[in-house]
């Protein structure tokens, strides 16, 4: 039997109902993206009087630019580290809370809080904690002989933004992993327990494989998050420095476009960034999904 369908007698009405959402999508997503693609093929004079079509010149320049390739590499390091760190910790917290019975609601609520913190605030918070002269963490690190200085040390700066970005994302991953763990039937765990599998082994041989759809989903979400949504964190903590050590692709788009006013190159970079994310998502769906169980 067919599912019940609502039919409109008025041919215009469906379009009218869709119009607000379509308008928002067109004005705020499609149009700017199209503008970016268009201006990535153009060069504008410094005063904005004339634009010249230059074809793929911006792209050729970018791909030959060691600064850009360097940023690409840093972004890869950043994205992989943030994704791994936030997913592993999110899963660890979820596994811990899943074993609780009475207090789990309290812990869940507390663990979700960081997600409500704005990225800029999260960045500033960690910037304070890691502040070279007044921060708490450098004070303790000094006792272990580590002189923390993310203003001068590129590695330190990278670690700082990784921690700040991952910290915010743990909550999100935690929630999804917890929901995933709680949907694993209790009887499966009991069957495994009778089959001689201890809690740790049960986690790795039963829970984790059954979580693979969740893991796959979170992987895509996290990579996209680090690619795009981490701009405020970088901006508030390191400003891309020192010596471009934390200039990720999205931060470079901003720097070259809004600070350097090189709109053509900036547009080309954002188009490349879009392509990278599209490619990653495609690869993930195509190859990772095949190994997803259940």
């Amino acid at each position: 039997m067919d599912t019940k369908r609502t039919t409109f007698n008025n041919r215009l009405l469906p379009y009218l109902l869709l119009a607000p959402q379509l308008a928002i999508t067109l004005i705020f997503f499609i149009w700017p993206a199209a503008q970016a693609v268009k201006s990535s093929f153009e060069r504008e004079d410094p005063f904005g009087f004339s634009t010249v079509f230059v074809g793929l010149a911006h792209y050729q320049q970018l791909l030959a630019d060691p600064n850009y390739l360097d940023s690409l590499w840093r972004t890869a390091v950043f994205a992989v580290s943030v994704t791994l760190l936030s997913m592993v910790l999110g899963l660890a917290f979820a596994a811990a809370v899943d074993r609780l019975t009475r207090t789990s609601k309290v812990y869940t609520t507390l663990l979700v809080w960081p997600y409500a913190v704005a990225p800029v605030v999260a960045g500033v918070l960690w910037w304070f904690l890691f502040n070279t002269s007044t921060g708490l963490l450098p004070f303790f690190l000094e006792r272990f002989g580590i002189l923390w200085d993310h203003d001068l040390n590129g590695t330190h700066a990278m670690i700082l933004i990784i921690i700040a970005a991952a910290w915010k994302q743990i909550s999100y991953n935690f929630l999804f992993f917890l929901a995933g763990l709680q949907s694993v039937p209790q009887a499966l765990m009991e069957a495994a327990a009778i089959d001689g599998s201890g809690p740790v082994k049960r986690f790795f041989t039963i829970s984790l494989p059954l979580l693979s759809p969740t893991t796959f989903f979170l992987f895509i979400i996290n990579v996209n998050y680090t690619m795009f949504d981490t701009f405020p964190i970088v901006d508030a903590t390191t400003g891309g420095g020192p010596a471009q050590a934390t200039t990720t692709l999205v931060y470079k788009v901003y720097q070259d476009g809004y600070v350097g006013l090189n709109l053509g190159s900036s547009s080309a970079q954002s188009v490349l960034l879009m392509l990278i994310v599209m490619l990653l998502t495609f690869v993930q769906f195509r190859f990772v999904e095949r190994r997803v169980q259940y």
């Binding site: 499966l188 009991e190 069957a191 327990a193 009778i194 089959d195 001689g196 059954l210 169980q293 259940y294």
Partner: protein, 366 residues
Amino acid sequence: MAGIHIAEVSKVYAGGVKAVNSVSIDIADGEFIVLVGPSGCGKSTLLRMVAGLETISGGEVKIADRVVNNVEPADRDIAMVFQNYALYPHMTVYNNLAYGLKNRGTPKAEIDARVTEAARMLEITQYLDRKPRALSGGQRQRVAMGRAIVRKPAAFLFDEPLSNLDAKLRVSMRGEIKRLQRRLGTTSIYVTHDQLEAMTLADRLVVLNGGRIEQIGAPLEVYHAPASTFVASFIGSPAMNLVKGELHGDKLAIGPSVIGLNGFAPASGTVTVGVRAEDIRIARADEEALPFRLEYAEELGAQRLIHGTVGDQQITAAVSPELELAPEMQIAIDASRLHFFAVDTGKRLPGNVPAEAKLAPVEPVA
């Protein structure tokens, strides 16, 4: 192979709810015990305590003469078949069967031999490479059984394993479980709320109600000599008729009618009288009879159930389908077929026990 001894086992949940109340059962090596009762009677809780999935609040569980109260489920040498099968969805049938053996560090060659053997026995050899989701309900049930038998445990625990199957499959799987258990000779505890399943599978059945044992006995013993009105109404289909009666010496009054008991009266005063539907027959002209007002009839094929009243009490009788029905009929019951229960406690009153209850149990065919 081992016996299981359950001694005064109780389960008290937080908040003081007593799910199982001082239950004792001695299960011999190789015996097939069925725990039966309505939902909430504590049968599953009891089974889970034997399995080690539920802590034991009081009493002692012994498997093969070893107290296992504080032993992990994995170390109790038991295998369990769950109601929803609990197969690992991400593993093939082969790995589902092999998982428990791998965890115990069984050599690979032996795992292979045991899985192959179990698969052959259950006729699931051609499905070994499939995932559970690609199997039908009956096949999943077999895999769940296979997972239990590969381990060669001291005891099988079944938690309503057939309740997710359709009626026809349930009957055939029931037969297979019985056949397999006879063949392997493994001590088994089987939980069900289905009295027919309990009757057909059990060597002995344990009727539970409200966390307590109502009766333990061979299926026919329980059927022919129920220890209480609860057992009488729970075991057997249709349920035993239970009516109010009054004993005067050797006479029994049901409503306005009186019948003689030929010396079978156990007491005097008000009692609950039980009578199986198949023990009621149409009265001959020359005997004491009860007037039966027919309300409706149910056809079962081999017999016909007629429902109606004697006085103001409901009675169901099983009669031959050839019998001609009339709105008013005269029914008779042999006094030796009557069961008497105390009105206040519902317990069976001492007295006659039908001869069938003393029949020797059917010898198991290997």
